[in-house]
Each structure stands twice: as structure tokens, then as C-alpha cells.
């Protein structure tokens, strides 16, 4: 075994350890440790990606060297390594971009605990990406929930407490359903490793026994994970939780946490059920219909908002809809589009939230659009980043969002006719709606007319903010302009994702 093959395990376990150490340091020490570790895990994930791209096949890492039916496994392929690389990079840049707000919003003696939560969150995201064991996935889903709730309630105002409670209750309902699904599946198949379950489930399906329990289990998994990743009718908790948190938390929650659960769902589809069973149980119809509704109605809700961060939060609801439509198309191309959207949204939305944080700083802490008039002139880098993000969300070529829309449309064209028509129509409507709320927001931010109240406030140049914004802008344009490499990697990764 080569050294690189240990990196996924090291990133998971050392992130947990880093969280423990952050809890005993003071604010600045914890910050340095957390940033150093996030940088290291980004480099390690990139090395893993290079290794898997070079070897061209996945490998399985046996924990404690116990082999298949007894031990716990980590499975690493191109797709997992690519996701881990992007997620750790985005996490690092989001923290840097919102650093000044973390220290403002948090009580001085509790700042170190913020970095503890970030480390735990990173660890659980790595684990959700890499794990091959269903019960481990459940445990890390819970760790993810707890850490993200703690990130929301960092600002101890009444609004964040209420938002956290609602978020936690909805998440617990979701994970209860997910756990019941895991347990029932264990009762039928007697395995917890996804590949073993997958083989048993296909056997059961061929024999035609247990068809009712299988339907129930698929329903439990999809509803449970849909609640946690804020698919349309279950999104009521999202706008409050994401808009009231500090800007780094909003960025991380919107960009990464929602995606962790979707990766688990894609893994369940590929490794446990396979396309054949999914189609015969009509799970993809459910995801497709609600994804389409989310794409349109999320954008309509965003259109009505006068609060910038709530607008961005509703935009996330719509963007999660794109991912579910990609999954619901039920073709290889659609699934690839869903994975592209996971990455494209993960690099775009945190940039928008960090820029919104910068605008709030030069507008007296207000989140209202009216107070942010001309904020882009007072915080020029944030203004540029917001414009890039808005263009990416609308889907202008050479930005990340365009790649998604292009591949989603391409995936829709390979699907069945009614689905193709609906998906393309929803894509067009959603694009128009996106333009209708992002373009006025950009105009508002660069408006020369300010009402004088904050006209002289300028943003203090900070190295971390500048670095994060520049990195986000470069990443977005690179992903949009040189998408061939990433799309090929995702296709190759999906090819080795199943059993």
C-alpha cells in the first residue's frame, strides 16, 4: 500500500482530532490550527485525486485491516477524491472570507469553539464522501447536523436560536426516517457495507420477494435525505437558518452541508439499488417532480425577497432543485449533470455569501437591499465577486453555472420525451427568473446613488478576505472555461462509482 492511499483516512480522523485541539486553544491559536489543517487536507485530497486519476480505478481501504463482512471500509475513486478536493478548498476559502465576522459575531472566549465545529463539519463531510458503510454514514450525518446547528446559533440572538431549533427539529425528522431505512434494510439483507447490501438487494429483487419493504425503504431514504438537503416542500427551515448565521457559516451551510447528504443519496442509488430497481419503484419520478418545483418556486420566492441573504438562501433552494432534476433524469448524463451542479454551486454560493458579508460590513450591518445601495463601490472586490457569482448563477458562458445548465440540458435530451420537455422548459423559466433577481441586485450594488448614510464607509483591506475572494473568482472562471477536464473526471468517477 502506498502512502497516498492513507490520505482519505487521515483527513477524516485528523479533522476530528483537530476539532479536539481547537477546543483547548484560545481563539487565534484555534484559528491558525484550523486553517493549517484545512490547507493540509486540501493538499492531501488533491494528491488522492491525482493518484486515482493516474491509476484509473478505485481502491478500498480496510479500517484496521479487517476484510469485507466484518470490517468498516472507505472507498476512494475519482469522484470521491474530486468532491473532497473541492469541498476542503471551499471550506478553507469560506472561513477566510468570513473571518472578520466570525470574530465580531462570536463571544471572545468562545471563538475557539467555532473552529471546533468547523473541524467536526469537515470531518463529517469527508466521511460522508468516502464511507462505504451505511451505519457509519448515519453516524456522520448526525455529526454533520449537530455541527451545522451549532454554526447557525453562533450569533446568540433570538432569531438564530429560533432558526436553529426549527433546523434541528426538521433535521431530526429526516435522520429518523433515514435510520429506520438503514435498520429495515439491515433486517432484510443482514449487511451494512453498501456493496454487500447491493448484491443482496439485487438478488431479492430478481426473486420478487420483499417488494413492499423495498418500496418502503426507498421511500424512507429519499424522503429522509430530501428533508435534510432542503428539497422543495421540505425547505421551510432553510431561509431562516442560512440567512441569520454569520457569513462564513451561511457560506459553508449553503455550499457544502446540503451537498453532503445528496452525495450519500447518489451513493445509495449507485451502490445499493442500481438504476433498474430505482426505475421500477418510481423513486426518480418523485425526485424529478419536486426538483422541477424547487427550480421554479425557489426562484419565485427569491424574487420576492428584499433581504440579500434571504434571497441567496432561496436561490439555494432552487439550485438544490437542479441537482435533484439531474438525479431524476435517471440517465448517466443526468447524474453527471447533478455532480457538476454539486461542484458548481459549492464554488459559487459561498462566494456570494462572503461578498454579502463584506457588503453588510460597509452598510452598518444591515442585510436589507435598500441599505446596500452602492455597496459594491465601497467594497470593490466583493462587488466584482458578487457580479461573477450572479453571472454564474444566471448561466452566462465561461462561468461555472453555465457548465451545469449545458450538461443538464444535454442530459434532458437523452431522456424520455415528456421528461425532456418538462426539464428544458423548467430550465428556461428558472434561468429567466434567476436573471430577474440577480441582475437588479448587481445594479443595486453598483448604483452611484447612495443615500449618504454609509457613503464614506470603506472596507478595511484584509489579506484573508482578498485571498478568499480572488481564489473563488479564479476557481469559478477556471471551472467554467476549462470544464472539459472536470466533466471528464466526473464521468470517469461515476463509471467506477457503482458495484
Amino acid at each position: 500500500m502506498e502512502l497516498v492511499q492513507n490520505f482519505p483516512f487521515i483527513t477524516i480522523v485528523f479533522s476530528l482530532t483537530c476539532g479536539v485541539f481547537c477546543a483547548v486553544f484560545h481563539g487565534n491559536g484555534a484559528k491558525r490550527l484550523c486553517i493549517a489543517w484545512l490547507t493540509a487536507s486540501f493538499l492531501m485530497s488533491a494528491a488522492t485525486l491525482a493518484y486515482t486519476l493516474q491509476s484509473g480505478e478505485y481502491y478500498i481501504y480496510y479500517m484496521g485491516r479487517w476484510s469485507a463482512p466484518w470490517g468498516n471500509e472507505i472507498r476512494v475513486g475519482v469522484l470521491e477524491a474530486l468532491m473532497a478536493t473541492f469541498f476542503s478548498g471551499v471550506m478553507l476559502c469560506s472561513i477566510l472570507g468570513g473571518m472578520s465576522h466570525i470574530f465580531e459575531d462570536c463571544d471572545a472566549e468562545k471563538t475557539n469553539l467555532y473552529f471546533t465545529m468547523i473541524s467536526l463539519l469537515m470531518s463529517s463531510l469527508f466521511a460522508l464522501i468516502y464511507t462505504n458503510d451505511l451505519f457509519t454514514a448515519y453516524v456522520f450525518v448526525e455529526i454533520n447536523t449537530m455541527a451545522s446547528c451549532a454554526l447557525v446559533m453562533l450569533k446568540s440572538s433570538g432569531a438564530t436560536l429560533v432558526a436553529t431549533t426549527r433546523y434541528l427539529i426538521m433535521s431530526l425528522l429526516g435522520s429518523g426516517l433515514f435510520l429506520l431505512g438503514v435498520v429495515t434494510l439491515y433486517g432484510i439483507t443482514g449487511h451494512l457495507l453498501m456493496e454487500d447490501i447491493g448484491r443482496e438487494v439485487r438478488e431479492i429483487f430478481r426473486e420478487g420477494t420483499y417488494s413492499l419493504p423495498l418500496t418502503v425503504i426507498i421511500g424512507l431514504f429519499s424522503v429522509g435525505l430530501a428533508v435534510k438537503s432542503a428539497l422543495f416542500p421540505f425547505h421551510s427551515w432553510l431561509p431562516d437558518a442560512h440567512s441569520n448565521a454569520t457569513s462564513a457559516s451561511s457560506a459553508v451551510l449553503s455550499g457544502l452541508v446540503l451537498k453532503g447528504y445528496i452525495i450519500v443519496l447518489i451513493k445509495i442509488i449507485y451502490r445499493i439499488f442500481g438504476f433498474e430497481i430505482i426505475v421500477s419503484e418510481r423513486m426518480e419520478d418523485f425526485l424529478f417532480v419536486f426538483g422541477i418545483l424547487a427550480m421554479v418556486l425557489g426562484s419565485v420566492a427569491a424574487l420576492r425577497e428584499r433581504d440579500l441573504k434571504r434571497m441567496l438562501a432561496y436561490s439555494s433552494v432552487a439550485q438544490v432543485g437542479y441537482i435533484y432534476v439531474g438525479i431524476g433524469l435517471n440517465t448517466e448524463a443526468g447524474m453527471a449533470a447533478a455532480c457538476i451542479q454539486i461542484i458548481a454551486h459549492a464554488i459559487t454560493k459561498p462566494m456570494l455569501f462572503c461578498a454579502a458579508g463584506g457588503f453588510m460590513q460597509v452598510s452598518g450591518g444591515s442585510k436589507a437591499m435598500a441599505d446596500m445601495r452602492g455597496a459594491g463601490r465601497r467594497d470593490p472586490l466583493g462587488g466584482v465577486a458578487f457580479t461573477v457569482g450572479a453571472m454564474s448563477m444566471i448561466g452566462i458562458p465561461f462561468f461555472a453555472g453555465f457548465v451545469t445548465k449545458f450538461h443538464l440540458a444535454e442530459g434532458a435530451l437523452t431522456s424520455t420525451t415528456p421528461r425532456m420537455v418538462i426539464a428544458v422548459a423548467a430550465l428556461i423559466i428558472s434561468t429567466i427568473l434567476n436573471a430577474m433577481y440577480y441582475i437588479p441586485a448587481v445594479f443595486n450594488i453598483f448604483s452611484p446613488r447612495t443615500d449618504g448614510k454609509f457613503a464614506d464607509v470603506r472596507i478595511q483591506p484584509r489579506f484573508d478576505y482578498t485571498f478568499a475572494m480572488t481564489a473563488f473568482i479564479i476557481a469559478n472562471i477556471c471551472f467554467g472555461s476549462f470544464s472539459r477536464f472536470f466533466v471528464d473526471a466526473i464521468r470517469e468517477g461515476l463509471g467506477m462509482f457503482g458495484i
Binding site: F135, V139, E142, T145, M146, C149, M153, S156, G158, A159, L161, V162, T164, T165, R166, L168, I169, L172, L173, G176, L177, L179, L180, V183, T184, Y186, G187, L192
Partner: protein, 124 residues
């Protein structure tokens, strides 16, 4: 079909309890009752798991007198899963209770609808 419900009475009871807990967590307005509902829901799943692992007439998987024949023992994996699950639900309960304390300190009520109303009123 219906007779299966009586043969697997542990599982039936577990799923009914899960439903009770789930509805309580979703519908109740009182935060403490919500927390109780959450514990109902999770305990129901542990009952389900524990009953899956039990095999009638066998003993707990602890080796005494050097008897290593697996056919004498019950399945130990579900028990391990239950223990892990209990740890998770205990910590979530602690978190929820702490949150409830802070909400009560601020708003002097446990009714989630009223708390939401009060917090909206405070903001505008």
C-alpha cells in the same frame, strides 16, 4: 399478510411507536413534548434493531467455558448499533434541552409557535 403483524409483534410495536414519536416531534407545539417525541422515535428504532438481533433460545455473545461455537449465541452486531445510536440520541437530546433552556430564558414560554411569533415581532 395480517398474521405477519402478529408473528413479528416486536417489529409491529416498534413501527407504531416510531409513528407516535414522529408525529409528536412534527406536530407538538410544546418543545419539551417534541423532545420526548424524539426520544420515542429513536427508542422505537432501537427496539426494532434489538429484536432483529435476538434469536430465541440463544445466549448473549460472551464466551464462557471456551465455547466458541457461534450457533449458541445471538447476533451481536445490532446490539453494537443500538449502543452507537443511543450515544447519538443522548447527545442530540442534550443539545435540544440546552437550546430549550436558552429559548425559555429569552421568551418565557415553551410554545414554538409563540416563540417564532415573538422573535419575528422583535425583529421588525
Amino acid at each position: 399478510m395480517l398474521s405477519n403483524l402478529f408473528i413479528n409483534y416486536y417489529e409491529t410495536a416498534a413501527v407504531i411507536l416510531f409513528g407516535v414519536g414522529f408525529t409528536t416531534l412534527l406536530m407538538q407545539r410544546n418543545l419539551l413534548k417534541k423532545i420526548i417525541g424524539f426520544n420515542f422515535m429513536d427508542s422505537a428504532i432501537y427496539l426494532f434493531l434489538a429484536s432483529k438481533g435476538y434469536i430465541a433460545g440463544r445466549i448473549a455473545p460472551v464466551i464462557v467455558n471456551g465455547d466458541t461455537d457461534p450457533s449458541h449465541y445471538v447476533n451481536p452486531i445490532p446490539t453494537g448499533l443500538v449502543l452507537t445510536g443511543i450515544v447519538v440520541s443522548v447527545s442530540v437530546t442534550a443539545f435540544l434541552l440546552a437550546l430549550t433552556c436558552r429559548l425559555y430564558d429569552r421568551y418565557h414560554t415553551l410554545d414554538i409557535d409563540e416563540i417564532t411569533y415573538l422573535s419575528r415581532k422583535g425583529r421588525d
